[in-house]
């Protein structure tokens, strides 16, 4: 008899992973079905990494409500799940009277949305806070509750916690058919089928298509809007301390300049509609556009220190709000569609809200006695080597010599860190999975020195040939043959 899950979550982005994490404390059999080979394979991998305060969304929207709640919860949750979070605050910068009027609008909206401590600050205070800002900036909306977080680390942490609490993950599971079999949903990917009593569609940029698998009349259409970014060397990470936004326009929140939790400087995004949803390529014009935007905010930004660029695709709904409702065609199928920015900031609240919906749909929520709220079976996860004190480093090197062997020079990642990333729940199997979990290869040499070593460690640990180790997904071969 095939297993029937209580709930199948489609998609292991931040929304799906957070839902799995929040459901883990209940007596439920949960499966997460992910099309990619790792969690955070879509928009959760490539975004601004900002915990927005909550003044952007229109008053009364679900987006506004969940953003403000999520922003308040994330610092606590991040601590519980060992995800670095920094309350670096944010500034929306005005250039002249037109913009300043817009700041008033944002302030008013933010207060109505319930964003605490918002205020408009004048040019003098603004430049005192951020000396490298353009001298032409005349005022700013200051949001002391905003922060920064690593979006894929948060996604991984939530997923790992769900995993150690018994949630099962299926990767390379690209849902292409959903059948109703009485009260059971048969969720298929090719010739594979997962059976579940309820399902939650957290498929990000593809969530409208998934919704249409069960209800061809599903009305919301997602418009893929790509945003391009550049990451600057850590030497530039202190150019600004808060996240610096332009005054938003119809196209979105505009280009920002922000430090990251890992100490780099992030510049971007623009917003352009693209023909297909997985088009995360970058274009010369786009990179030039974000460079110009960044220079307008921070003229001294050293854009020559770029170490990499990337793009993400937003699941922008034509309704401009989060849609978290059961399918009109199936009362046991919950859609979470259009969870675009501020989807990261909202994620814990989105999950809570989705659980309320699931309860209304008939899911019984009984709290487990053996729930583990932490990231690992033994509680908190060990900090990466580079973040330990000298005494802790000395102690660890003595106990486990693998931690005395640096593999990634730029980010100071040890063999011990990499082995831990391979061995932990939902552990790394590819070079990119090691990179997302440890930062090996994310520094200024971009894996030039460490990638052959990472390939070797993965091959040894997984018991395969180095030629079987991929960069990211199947097809992304690193090595093609042995030498003569």
């Amino acid at each position: 008899m095939e297993k029937i899950y209580d709930i199948a979550i489609i998609g292991a982005g931040v929304t799906g992973a957070m839902l799995a994490h929040k459901l883990a404390k209940y007596k439920l059999d949960v499966a997460v079905l992910e099309a990619g080979c790792d969690v955070a394979s879509g928009a959760s991998r490539a975004n601004s990494a900002i915990v927005h305060a909550g003044f952007d969304a229109a008053c009364g929207t679900l987006k506004a409500k969940l953003n403000v709640r999520g922003c308040a919860e994330l610092p606590v949750l991040a601590k519980q799940l060992d995800v670095p979070y920094k309350n670096n605050t944010s500034l929306v910068v005005a250039y002249g009277e037109e913009d300043e009027k817009m700041l008033e609008v944002l302030l008013e909206r933010g207060r109505k949305n319930g964003v605490p401590k918002l205020e408009i600050i004048d040019s003098a205070r603004l430049h005192e806070m951020e000396p490298s800002l353009s001298p032409e900036a005349t005022a700013a909306l200051y949001a002391p509750t905003a922060g920064i977080i690593c979006p894929y680390d948060l996604t991984m942490a939530a997923a790992e916690n769900a995993c150690i609490n018994g949630c099962e993950f299926y990767f390379d599971y690209k849902v292409d058919k959903i059948e109703r079999d009485g009260d059971i949903l048969n969720i298929c990917a090719g010739d594979k089928t997962i059976r579940a009593r309820y399902a939650a569609n957290c498929a990000g940029v593809h969530s409208d298509e998934i919704a249409r698998l069960i209800d061809p009349e599903f009305p919301i259409k997602l418009i893929p809007r790509r945003g391009e970014y550049m990451v600057l060397d850590k030497a530039e990470g202190k150019t600004v301390s808060a996240t610096i936004f332009m005054v938003p326009s119809k196209a979105g929140k505009g280009i920002l300049v922000s430090p990251t939790v890992d100490g780099n400087l992030l510049v971007g995004p623009n917003a352009h509609e693209v023909g297909f949803k997985d088009d995360t390529s970058t274009e010369a014009m786009g990179l030039e556009e974000i460079s110009q935007g960044a220079r307008r905010l921070v003229p001294s930004a050293n854009l020559r220190a770029v170490i990499t660029s990337f793009a993400g695709v937003r699941p922008t709904p034509d309704t401009d709000d989060f849609h978290i409702l059961p399918s009109a065609a199936a009362g046991n199928f919950l859609n979470l569609v259009g969870i675009e920015s501020p989807g990261l900031a909202s994620s814990p609240a989105v999950a809570e809200y989705a659980i309320e919906q699931l309860a209304k749909m008939g899911v019984t929520l009984k709290v487990r006695d053996d729930y583990n709220p932490f990231r690992t079976e033994k509680g908190h996860m060990r900090k990466p080597f580079r973040e330990l004190s000298n005494e802790e480093k000395a102690e660890l090197c003595k106990k486990e010599p693998a931690y005395a062997k640096i593999i990634c020079r730029c980010e100071t990642i040890t063999e011990g860190d990499i082995l831990a990333a391979i061995r932990r729940p939902l552990g790394a199997k590819t070079v990119d999975m090691v990179k997302m979990r440890t930062r090996a290869g994310m520094g200024r040499c971009q894996g030039g020195f460490c990638s052959p070593r990472v390939v070797e460690i993965l091959a040894n640990e997984l018991g395969v040939s180095p030629m079987d180790i991929k960069k990211r997904d199947c097809g992304s071969d690193i090595l093609c043959d042995k030498t003569k």
């Binding site: 640096i406 200024r444 093609c480």
Partner: protein, 434 residues
Amino acid sequence: MEFDTQKQLVIVGGGPAGLAAAMEAFRNGIAPDDILIIERDRELGGILNQCIHAGFGLHMFGEELTGPEYSGRFIEEVKNAGVGYVTNSMVLSISDERIVTFVSPEMGFVRMKAGAVVICTGCRERTRGALNIPGTRPAGIYSAGTAQRYVNIEGFMPGKRVVILGSGDIGLIMARRMTLEGAKVLRVCELMPYSGGLARNIAQCLDDFDIPLYLSHTVTEIRGKERVEGVVISKVDENRRPIPGTEEYVECDTLLLSVGLIPENELAKLAGIELDRITGGAVVNQYNETTVKGIFACGNALHVHDLVDFVTREAYTAGRSAAKFIKDGGFEVATGEIICKTSGGVRYTVPQKLIKSVTVPEELKFYMRVDNIYKNVKLELHAGGETLKSVKKRSVAPGEMESLTLGAAECAKLYSLGVNELEITLLHSEEEAK
């Protein structure tokens, strides 16, 4: 600051620079067990271990050695002398008081106070990210050095149909190497109107294998979802901007990048050492001492070399100076500095300054690079309105490091002038203008 242990001399990096510096310090009276070479790779030898082609050592030994043969000679010397070394070990920081913090599987986490430190950390390759090449981010993009490691050390081929961007020496060497291993190298593209590599490498690695070199061309887009499927190549104008309409799509599964080397000086920065904005390496004096007392630098960490022979020579100076610093507690009292300026198409010089010691040096050697190809020029050293040295050059190029040496008499002259600066310049002839 606290430390756990002490050594007279710590050498950061066990490549050709580190090995030669250690041996020269040993020959100048530092006890072998009071020297520690800290090497981050599995073996001593540095990047030479993967340079299995011949062509090393013509200047030092008068014969053509492979990379491993060249480094092997120094490794043997170090081992025979009993000079201390650790491998798989990496320095995390150097303080301005010469406390070297490193980790090593053998020794653990160590804070070692050093009498002198020589930074021999080599260089790294510029990346696709630093060039900001647009497109997708698939597998199949490698720096030439990474590909070289895969092929020559690990024994794997990273691709079959290859485009190489950049005609730096490693790119040229890899064009030949990949061809010999059965790959098809479709073309080498160079942004500049001239190659950044040695002339002999163009001849031996490209011409001999009919690999086309496209000057004033660059890669303007990378395509492919999982693995590289092709690249778009465009011609560039005199400002190195792609010319619209010149795009050409080339199907390939691999893009190798040989687009420049950057001295690795993250440790030097932590120690508060002043860096030269042009070389990317430390600012040093004629002893190869940096702006932090007792910390020396040489090799590709100081400025990128074309020939290891010159690295060895530079490392000898650094090693000898470090030994002198340890034994004498410093250099003799100086009466000031002479700043070494450049002009006329000379981009930089190393050393960047001279200490005016009381004893006049017997020889001063300057290394420099030019900013373009020039024909029939004179490389000259001027000070106090006088020309102290003038050397005729039929041709100079950015890809070939130049040097100038002042002999004892010229040094004496320089020091007697009482100047605070000198200038190294190119004198352009009328023939060149034609």
